[in-house]
């Protein structure tokens, strides 16, 4: 079945960079980009057990007359065919379209509701967090400047979301042919604990076959250790736990990673089911 990535296009220089990241991701793993050119300042996404209203930053509606042309130009510049565009069919209110959620990936900048001046390390907007929390697809949080990635870096902390992130990393590595590294910060558990999780989840073969290097940090601050992650890697990681309290937080590892690494982040939320 066709694999698709949803991209909300912003017709600005920042939007161009984000679409370039999206397109590079699509080209690298063989995904078709599907682009939504917003006509209204807000839209709804009905997930399985949640409905999220996305109130866009006003810059998403800039120069609508050239938006389509620019989007096609950017996608084609990466050697992909002309992308599909979403035309909303359903409207909850006359100015409130419902955007489908049956995608395999979605690409967002760090914020889509707040002013773009807020975009920076350590900040992920509330709407993007809501999407990550509710979506069945992983969310690609693109950096502010286009930068092709040359490897895949998976943050593995042993949680169920981290296991899903590992599976997704393997999938991306397999589809792209790029090497994959795994990073683990030892806390109260020894390395055997993490190895045991990998074995229990039947991921031993994948670990042997796809992982170039499993880097284990047994000392030092996690933030400082993140310096070892290549600058040109796509970082794959899980977000949120499954408990009531944990679901309200992004997770401490996630917060540290997103506030330290400027890389493209591919975030796996609690509702994601990893296909192998």
């Amino acid at each position: 079945m066709e694999t698709r990535l949803l991209h909300i296009f912003r017709n600005t220089p920042l939007g161009r960079e984000v679409l370039l990241q999206s397109t590079y991701f699509c080209k690298t793993i063989g995904v078709n980009p599907v682009i939504y050119l917003p006509e209204f300042i807000k839209f709804l996404m009905y997930f399985e057990n949640d409905v999220a209203q996305i109130d866009l930053d006003g810059s998403y509606l800039i120069a609508p007359e050239t938006a389509r042309e620019h989007a096609v130009e950017i996608v084609r510049s990466q050697g992909l065919p002309e992308p599909n565009f979403i035309e909303p069919k359903n409207f909850t209110a006359s100015t409130l379209p419902d955007i489908p959620v049956n995608f395999d990936f979605m690409c967002c900048p760090r914020t889509i509701s707040d002013l773009s001046s807020k975009i920076g390390l350590g900040y992920i907007g509330p709407r993007v967090r809501r999407i990550v929390q509710s979506a069945r697809f992983p969310v690609l949080i693109a950096g502010a400047v286009y930068k092709p990635w040359k490897s895949v870096a998976v943050m593995f902390g042993g949680s169920s979301n981290a296991v899903n992130a590992f599976r997704l990393g393997v999938r991306i590595s397999r589809l792209s042919g790029l090497s994959m590294d795994v990073y683990t910060q030892l806390g109260k558990h020894s390395l055997d604990y993490y190895k045991d999780i990998i074995q229990k989840k039947n991921l031993g073969n994948e670990m042997d076959q796809y992982v170039r290097n499993w880097e284990v940090f047994d000392s030092g601050e996690f933030s400082a250790n993140l310096y070892n992650v290549p600058h040109d890697a796509l970082v794959v990681l899980g977000a949120y736990g499954h408990g009531v309290i944990k679901e309200m937080l992004f997770g401490s590892i996630m917060e540290k990673v997103q506030s330290v690494l400027p890389n493209n982040l591919l975030i796996v939320g609690p509702k994601y089911q990893a296909p192998m």
């Binding site: 079945m1 066709e2 078709n32 807000k42 709804l44 009905y46 057990n49 949640d50 409905v51 209203q53 109130d55 065919p81 599909n84 069919k89 359903n90 409207f91 909850t92 209110a93 006359s94 100015t95 409130l96 419902d98 489908p100 049956n102």
Partner: protein, 561 residues
């Protein structure tokens, strides 16, 4: 095990919680409106008072658009849409937004009712509580119904009407799974209201003696209420259309509509606000204005309601319907008194009650809601016979002129009115990607016929999609029936290529197409299967046989309680 806490008990327990919360929301709006009326009542006689509904409507519109950022709408259609399309998923902000906006609109004098806002609020409360408990779609829809019933039961102190309205208008499915928790929620909603503000009947009335003459006269009243219902429906739509074509900020349009209401209300104050004081006077038989004034009030209230709701104010049409219905009943009573002065007619309050039932039934096309609501809010069970007659005839006549009710028309036109167990609903719950058959052999355009014959022998299908080998672009389809004459001529095996004999004028479908549209296209072209194409690439085939199979499974899921 002696006792099992099963899903139904869970739903009833949560339903009681939802009903109580919805009751509190209804009570909050009620208290808010009383406070607004008391606050602004001192200024109503001043010459500039006509701008008050304008200011209220503008503030209400600004609140919805700029602060809450929620699209406009009456409330009830949004709830039905969410139940039809998304298993009752609603935003949290909807649980309070309409309470505040309608308080501003109605409290300042706008001609609208608080019932639709509390319905939306209650439904959103139910939906969000269901989300907290991670309930499935069917359970969530039941809780949306619980919220609706609890809110309506509380605002009217009418638990049966709350239950009936929810099942008849919102859910559209009379099943035990829904009815029991909704009934419980309705009781809890009404009980919360009774605890906090007393067990009061909204409109007390005199004792009516219903004789056969009244029952016969009701036939005429039913026709009158049906006509007025149709008039109100069309006036509201016309008002929406006119306002839609005027390019001004929404808050300014709401302000203009509100000022127009204020001007009408300056001369005819009975059209302002929810209008329950006028209803009370009519039901008690103490409304003293003559026939011409009453006729004028009917049309003025229709106009005021159209300006309020059509131009961007927030509120519902329940209360205006009750007011217009009672005016219509009064008008009819005075008219027949003039025509047949010798007949000892029952008190005009009785006709006011019947008129309310006729209007509600006509505009909602929900006769049971009309009957039970009026019986409960007036405590007038003795008028039940003419009440049934008026409600039934009014609904039927309105349906003849307007096949969909005021609330549902837009949903019906856009294909969003999907009742459970209907063909449209089953199809809407399936997607093309679930039905794609992938066991087709894709062949390249430059394949020789001879090679194709060898491949054909291995396949059990009659269709073979053809693609460009390099770009994988879908080019057309080979159907064995179309090329049979070539297949039996071995001389052509080495000289004919597939691109020469393939059908390039193939109708295709996309992954996001609606199944109802696909079926219509198949029927129109007399096809049994069609290729599914995405990004110009062949994905698979969709066939009527697979569709029927999945359709049956989905129907079993929807009807299995």
């Amino acid at each position: 095990m002696f006792f099992r806490f099963d899903d139904r008990l869970l739903l009833i327990s949560i339903g009681a919680l939802v009903g109580s919360c919805s009751g509190l929301a209804a009570l909050a709006l009620n208290r808010g409106l009383i406070a607004m009326f008391e606050l602004l009542g001192h200024y109503r006689h001043l010459w500039w008072a006509f701008i008050m509904p304008g200011i209220g409507a503008a503030l209400s519109s600004l609140f919805l658009e700029k602060i809450i950022k929620e699209g406009a709408g009456h409330g009830v259609p949004e709830v039905v849409y969410s139940v039809s399309r998304y298993g009752g998923l609603m935003r949290f902000r909807s649980s309070f937004s309409r309470l505040i906006s309608s308080c501003l609109t109605i409290g300042s004098g706008g001609s609208a009712g608080p019932e639709a806002p509390v319905v939306m609020s209650g439904a959103a409360i139910g939906s969000n509580i269901a989300q907290i408990f991670s309930l499935n779609d069917r359970q969530r829809v039941a809780l949306v119904g619980c919220g609706t019933a609890g809110a309506l039961a509380a605002i009217f102190n009418a638990p049966i009407a709350g239950l009936v309205f929810t099942i008849e208008v919102i859910i559209g499915e009379w099943s035990a799974l829904n009815i029991v928790p909704i009934a419980v929620a309705s009781v809890f909603g009404a009980q919360v209201c009774r605890l906090l503000q007393g067990n009061q009947i909204a409109f007390t009335h005199l004792q009516f003696n219903i004789d056969p003459a009244v029952t016969i006269a009701c036939l005429g009243l039913a026709v009158a209420t049906a006509l007025i219902s149709i008039m109100l429906t069309r006036a509201l739509r016309l008002s929406h259309r006119v306002s839609h074509h005027i390019h001004l900020p929404v808050w300014l349009k709401a302000a203009i509509g509100g000022c127009a209401v204020g001007l009408i209300g300056f001369f005819l104050p009975d059209v302002l606000g929810e209008g329950y004081y006028s209803i009370q006077a009519m039901v008690e038989g103490t409304f003293s204005n003559g026939l011409l004034i009453v006729v004028l009030l009917v049309f003025a209230k229709i106009l005021a309601t159209s300006f309020t709701l059509g131009w961007g104010g927030s509120g519902g049409i329940f209360a205006p319907c009750l007011v217009i219905g009672s005016f219509t009943g009064l008008m009819y009573h005075r008219f027949i008194e003039i025509l047949w002065p010798g007949v000892a007619w029952v008190n005009e309050g009785c006709f006011a009650l019947l008129g309310m039932a006729g209007l509600i039934s006509g505009i909602l096309q929900a006769p049971l809601t009309g009957m039970f609501l009026i019986v409960e809010i007036t405590g007038g069970y003795e008028v039940i016979l003419p009440l049934i007659l008026v409600s039934a005839i009014s609904t039927t006549l309105c349906h003849s002129f307007e096949p969909a009710s005021f609330y549902m028309k837009d949903l019906v036109e856009k294909g969003h009115f999907l009742r459970p167990r209907t063909d449209a609903r089953v199809l809407a719950d399936l997607s093309v990607s679930e039905l794609v058959e992938k066991d087709c052999i894709v062949v390249p355009k430059d394949m020789k016929l001879g090679d194709f014959v060898k491949i054909m022998q291995k396949s059990h299908r009659n269709f073979f999609p053809v693609e460009d080998e390099r770009s994988r672009e879908f080019l057309g389809l080979i159907h064995l029936d179309d090329i049979r004459e070539y297949l039996f001529d071995p001389l052509l095996y080495e000289t004919v290529f597939l691109e020469q004999i393939m059908d390039t004028q193939v109708q295709t479908v996309g992954l996001d197409d609606d199944l109802s549209v696909i079926l219509d296209r198949m029927d129109a072209a007399k096809l049994f299967s069609m290729p599914v194409v995405a990004n110009n690439q062949f994905v698979g085939m969709i066939s009527k046989a697979t569709l029927l199979d999945k359709y049956r499974n989905e129907l079993i899921v929807q009807t299995d309680h």
